[in-house]
Point group: C2
Chain length 403, copies 2
């Protein structure tokens, strides 16, 4: 039971406590934790000795805190919970609470490497059907390993950063032409944030996932389908994805998701031993994709074929190391139903079946000025939900000056 006004029963109660980084006026960026519609200034809290993290909370990014590891993450979480629930601390803590409306949320961590997986069977099948209609939709490797690739870390941006429409080459019957993308799309994903590094040559087994991963963010992996279709063979997507990837400002700790674990879909054929996670659990995260005010899709994360523990085990099984701040995303989340697809490519079946928004507006792909907001919740304790915040972006025309 928290003493913070308005926080009890909220999706951002003491059962959640997501971390972020904020600016207030001209002051340097600092770390905060969300409680209700307020934010506890952890820089000030550590300076005052209310919470101790060896100075890791007095940094302009979460990276030093992420590097501390699970025992310290848990200790800090316990202490914050105590401060926010024990009325005896109210006098000292309340002055360090700021209304969210008075701060600007910035990129919460410095991204090391960014990897994007492709782990929804429904998404991979849909894309296969749309792009390669004459072939088996799933390639032979898909059920044997979590397919993934490296994306561009330097263009991962926080929610509300404007997304400039990318330009590039697309194929036409008369050869390639250059111009602004005409098939700009979203990909609704969940991202996993690595805290504790691994050493070169030392794979992270599936059962050590929680030793390394601190928590999750929501991800919108903006994608230019016309650029992608022309460029992706044989080395994969490049400019179609590298212009911007948006993440939610709140990193929700795995500790807040204890009630969200559910059995993941059975894997058949059986996976190789290094990918066997027993129990094979997914997270029951429920996403919602809002396009200019209309909810167009509700992608269910629980149905992902490959789990985050398997993805990390695969990513490192060749000896590749992970660093603090590495981000790996699930891949587009799509359920079996059209209304559960995580991309507009699928929602409009390659642009062939426009979707209706409010006021009779029809859309296939993104137009300039469009805003997409992806939000999500998870089941929490005692029937309360866990809010995962949202990742939002508005498309600005190609060639507009950067913000």
């Amino acid at each position: 039971m928290t003493w913070v006004p308005g926080a009890q029963g909220s999706p951002y109660g003491v059962h959640n406590l997501p971390y972020g980084v904020f600016r207030q006026g001209d002051r340097p960026a600092r770390i905060g934790v969300r409680i209700g519609d307020l934010l506890l200034d952890l820089d000030a809290a550590e300076a005052a000795g209310l919470v101790l993290a060896g100075g890791a909370l007095r940094a302009p990014t979460l990276n030093p805190f992420l590097a501390l590891g699970r025992p310290q993450w848990s200790a800090v979480r316990s202490r914050i919970t105590h401060l926010l629930t024990d009325a005896g601390h109210r006098a000292a803590v309340e002055p360090l609470l700021l209304p969210l409306a008075e701060v600007e949320l910035v990129m919460p961590f410095e991204v090391g490497d960014y990897v994007d997986f492709y782990s929804s069977e429904h998404h991979a099948t849909n894309v296969g059907r749309i792009f390669r209609p004459d072939d088996e939709p799933l390639l032979p490797n898909w059920r044997h390993l979590p397919i993934g690739y490296h994306g561009r870390a330097g263009t991962v941006v926080v929610s509300d950063t404007p997304v400039i429409r990318p330009s590039g080459q697309r194929a036409t019957p008369d050869g390639p032409v250059f111009g602004p993308s005409t098939r700009l799309d979203i990909e609704a994903e969940v991202g996993f944030v690595v805290g504790v590094p691994s050493a070169p040559g030392a794979p992270v087994p599936v059962d050590r996932f929680a030793d390394h991963v601190f928590g999750i963010v929501l991800v919108n992996d903006w994608s230019a389908r016309d650029l992608q279709a022309w460029e992706y063979r044989p080395l994969g997507p490049f400019l179609a994805k590298s212009f911007a990837t948006s993440v939610s400002p709140w990193v929700v700790p795995l500790d807040a998701l204890a009630d969200a674990w559910v059995p993941a879909p059975e894997q058949n054929p059986p996976v190789l031993p290094y990918l066997r996670d027993v129990p094979h659990l997914g997270l029951d995260l429920r996403l919602e994709v809002d396009w200019n005010g209309t909810v167009v899709s509700r992608p269910p994360f629980a149905g992902m074929y490959w789990t985050a523990a398997q993805q990390l085990a695969h990513l490192t099984v060749n000896g590749a190391s992970v660093r603090t701040g590495d981000l790996y995303a699930s891949g587009t989340i799509s359920g079996p139903d059209r209304s559960e697809t995580g991309s507009f490519l699928e929602l409009t079946w390659g642009g062939a079946e426009p979707v209706g928004l409010d006021a009779g507006v029809k859309r296939t792909f993104l137009e300039d000025g469009d805003t997409v907001t992806i939000s999500a919740t998870a089941p929490g304790p005692d029937g309360i939900t866990v809010g995962l915040g949202e990742v939002r972006g508005t498309i600005v025309p190609a060639g507009a000056p950067p913000r």
Copy 2:
């Protein structure tokens, strides 16, 4: 004419002056510049006021110096040249020269994003013939844009870092199996190091290449061909490349390569306007691949189809920004002749034609204990060559503990 003993006429004379980062005993890493077989301690030189870079030379990586930009790069280079050629400075400077044999060279810069291109026509054609024998070797997009993809920045390592043989899945007639790679290969490449960042949404035109790129390194993009063949569809190489990418310890400034520019191969069909670099110039860098003491190949960089200026223009044309420390590599460098190929895949034609090393030893792919050294030179002023150093790695068995 330099007063430094042994440096006059050396490939590392005052016409070259590559930058690196070194350790000496227990002291923190610091920046140096190579002259002959010595290294000028630039940390000490800036501390003594002999060269001024606003403190950028007093850092443990080159990144702050790389961020300064071309006018400052040129000013520092001029000043160092003056110090090393004007005998009046000898008394002050000579105590700051260290024998290379007494220092350990470490990773010279912190890598932002790592991108790998695929810009040798001979290489792309050879790979197409080996992997897709029934199709046209070059895919339809290849002559229209410089194909590239993102690699793993966190596993870029400096020369002489042991390379642990990666494990992973490979296809067999009975389905995929897991184990150490059986087709471990090299890729001889040249890497371009970005100094000055670009803004989101602001592409770098072909003619602004030298405003952003500071210099070059040699790159060995170690590749596990068996893993690659199984995993790469549809999103490109992932574990096959992510375990290690080695770079030479010396970053050779573009200023040292003024005599190395040569016309690049004519491009037909004509490229789109954003890729038109006039004049269309490549660098006459001559690489040498040494396998356990035998030179097996001499890849010629001058024949690369896509230039570094075109690669940077393409990489940013969608609005993606570059950061200080970004590294983009040319892709495997192969000439028309088998003895000019930059990978063992090509040299042994998919492993079908073993190559002879010293003492009657035959090889197809890398065995544990093998050492590969890639070195290079460029033409310099007055018939002197410019040494580009070397990138070396020795294969250690899979599962060995990390160093």
